[in-house]
């Protein structure tokens, strides 16, 4: 609590005292950067991520980071991060990343500590509002996945090489372990399936990223892959397996093994215009085992086969004004894209069109407004919509961010 108050005070102090165009704070050789943002969202039908139907301000985040260059090729740093979006976050302060970075050569560097996980083009910067046009990134980066793919504790080997003929290749290989809290967004996602998570256990996590910037100006292509397993205990009253089957009563243990999230991406920058497209596949084997003491355990195997994609375009019209839009689709079960196995077919997809306007009031303050038209209920949480999920939702977002 004291730390939270101290951080809030520090950020407020910074916001009030620093000139609006501040670049950074520096104390001796420690560089200090941070941001704070407050959003507002309102939707016409379903509640989306928060109690948005009546309009909500439960939509904010802030971070502060400290870095120091100890030697020309060695620096250390850490970032504290807090956020609130609906029931998730609740402004609890977490260590977002904290590591030592040793760049041995251009080809090889090492990082040790808590490191952001590469996932598609923008996962590492998903929380940093002022670095992008959009308020909400497309569902490839859906908010509930943050706790699962944000960062890991381990070792990162990275580097790049410039080939004369084919261009620049960058790579990153991370190995480590990650911890998922029982009140994370992932828990909320499982909660929609009737599971109240009481314990999470995740072991080894491995990730890789390969980005190729060919000798075509503005183009980069790449792939990221994340592997890990999750074991969890859950209390449940009712667990629907599909429209026809469900488990009633006993508590469950589930194991998500061979968990693999792959994203293929391409980004093309033409002057002030940026096109991006990504395709995500999420595969795993969900093994559910009943935990009743009165009966023999029953085991169910539910293969996970989730796909998501989007196309986006942003254009900076003036020095301080930018527009952007995207169209995205998310299928929780890619083998049932028409939702035939769901209780209502539109639960089988989430299709979303978004348009955003960003206005940079100064180099440090940005205001954004964004509209989403959503078709489908695949990412609408039943616990947020106790009267049932409707097929279509319109969402309006406003956000003001300050960074230094």
């Amino acid at each position: 609590m004291i730390i939270r108050q101290a951080l809030s005070f520090f950020l407020l102090f910074t916001f009030v005292c620093i000139k609006p165009d501040a670049n950074a704070l520096q104390y001796k050789n420690i560089h200090i950067h941070g941001f704070i943002s407050q959003g507002y969202m309102i939707s016409d039908r379903n509640n989306y991520l928060a109690d948005s139907h009546g309009g909500t301000l439960e939509f904010n985040d802030a971070a502060i980071n400290f870095s120091r260059q100890l030697y020309p090729n060695f620096h250390i740093g850490c970032q504290l991060y807090t956020r609130d979006i609906g029931d998730v976050g609740n402004n609890k302060i977490e260590i977002d990343w904290a590591f030592a970075d040793f760049r041995m050569t251009d080809l090889v560097g090492f990082r040790l500590g808590k490191i952001k996980i590469p996932h598609g083009l923008y996962n590492e910067t998903r929380d940093i509002d002022m670095l992008r046009t959009f308020i909400f990134l497309p569902p490839v980066y859906y908010d509930i996945s943050r706790s699962t793919i944000n960062a890991l504790n381990g070792v990162d080997i990275y580097g790049n090489y410039q080939f004369e003929t084919i261009g620049n290749i960058e790579y990153q290989i991370l190995n480590g372990v990650k911890r998922i809290e029982t009140d994370s967004g992932w828990s909320r996602y499982m909660e929609r399936r009737g599971m109240d998570i009481t314990r999470f256990e995740s072991g080894y996590t491995g990730c890789g990223k390969l980005t190729w910037s060919p000798n075509i100006e503005g183009l980069r292509l790449g792939v990221t892959n994340i592997f890990f397993d999750i074991n969890a205990d859950a209390e449940t009253n009712q667990f629907p397996l599909s429209a026809q089957y469900r488990i009633d009563g006993p508590d469950l243990r589930y194991q998500l093994s061979n968990f693999n999230i792959m994203v293929n991406y391409v980004e093309y920058t033409l002057q002030e215009m940026i096109f991006a497209a990504e395709y995500m596949t999420f595969r795993g084997d969900l093994v559910i085992k009943t935990l009743s003491s009165e009966m023999e355990p029953i085991v169910f195997n539910v293969p996970i086969k989730t796909d998501a994609l989007y196309l986006s375009m942003t254009y900076r019209l003036k020095n301080n004004f930018e527009i952007g839009g995207y169209y995205a689709v998310f299928w929780p079960d890619a083998s049932d894209k028409n939702g035939k196995l769901q209780t209502q077919d539109y639960i089988g997809w989430h299709k979303e069109a978004a348009i955003c306007f960003r206005f940079d009031i100064t180099n440090s303050i940005a205001f954004k407004t964004e509209t989403h038209l959503i078709d489908g209920g695949a990412l609408m949480m039943p616990q947020d919509n106790p009267d049932g999920v409707e097929q279509r939702t319109a969402l309006l977002l406003l956000k003001l961010s300050y960074s230094f």
Binding site: N65, S67, L131, N168
Partner: protein, 147 residues
């Protein structure tokens, strides 16, 4: 107004949009010179310059650490970044902010006067920077030749 006329206007509008983008391609007069510490090699490729200022190339050929410095006077800064790094100034600033907020890099050293840049390059081993072409560079700082 029938559908085909509407369609014609729509096509014109889209074409106009792309023509505007292409015509907005600013061909900056390269009125900058790249300067390096006297002990550094004489020539560099365009890819080298780009990679140095993106933090991807961190060592000279003699394995000495590269220390690049940005000269932030608006006109020179913008033309250098656009021409050599092939990004807009906004994209370049965001590129480094991304590194700062993910911990993968630190903000480059910046000066807003050319004399500070020249002085830094002169006294720092492995240093590289850029100044306006009109700027007088002392003999003990080397001007780079692009391959």
């Amino acid at each position: 107004m029938n559908i085909s006329v509407l369609r014609f206007y729509l096509i014109l509008l889209i074409l106009n949009f792309f023509i505007q983008i292409i015509s907005n391609t600013c061909v900056y007069a390269i009125s900058v010179k790249i300067i390096v510490h006297p002990e550094i090699q004489d020539s560099l490729s365009a890819n080298d310059i780009r990679n140095i200022f993106l933090g991807k190339k961190t060592q000279w050929e003699n394995n000495q650490r590269i220390r690049f410095v940005l000269f932030t006077e608006e006109t020179t800064y913008r033309s250098f970044i656009t021409y050599y790094v092939r990004k807009t100034l906004y994209q370049y600033r965001n590129y480094w902010r991304k590194k700062v907020f993910t911990g993968t890099g630190m903000m480059p050293v910046m000066f807003n006067s050319s004399s500070q840049c020249i002085d830094y390059v002169n006294r720092t081993q492995g240093a590289i920077s850029f100044v306006p072409a009109t700027c007088n560079v002392p003999n003990d700082v080397k001007e780079i030749i692009l391959n």
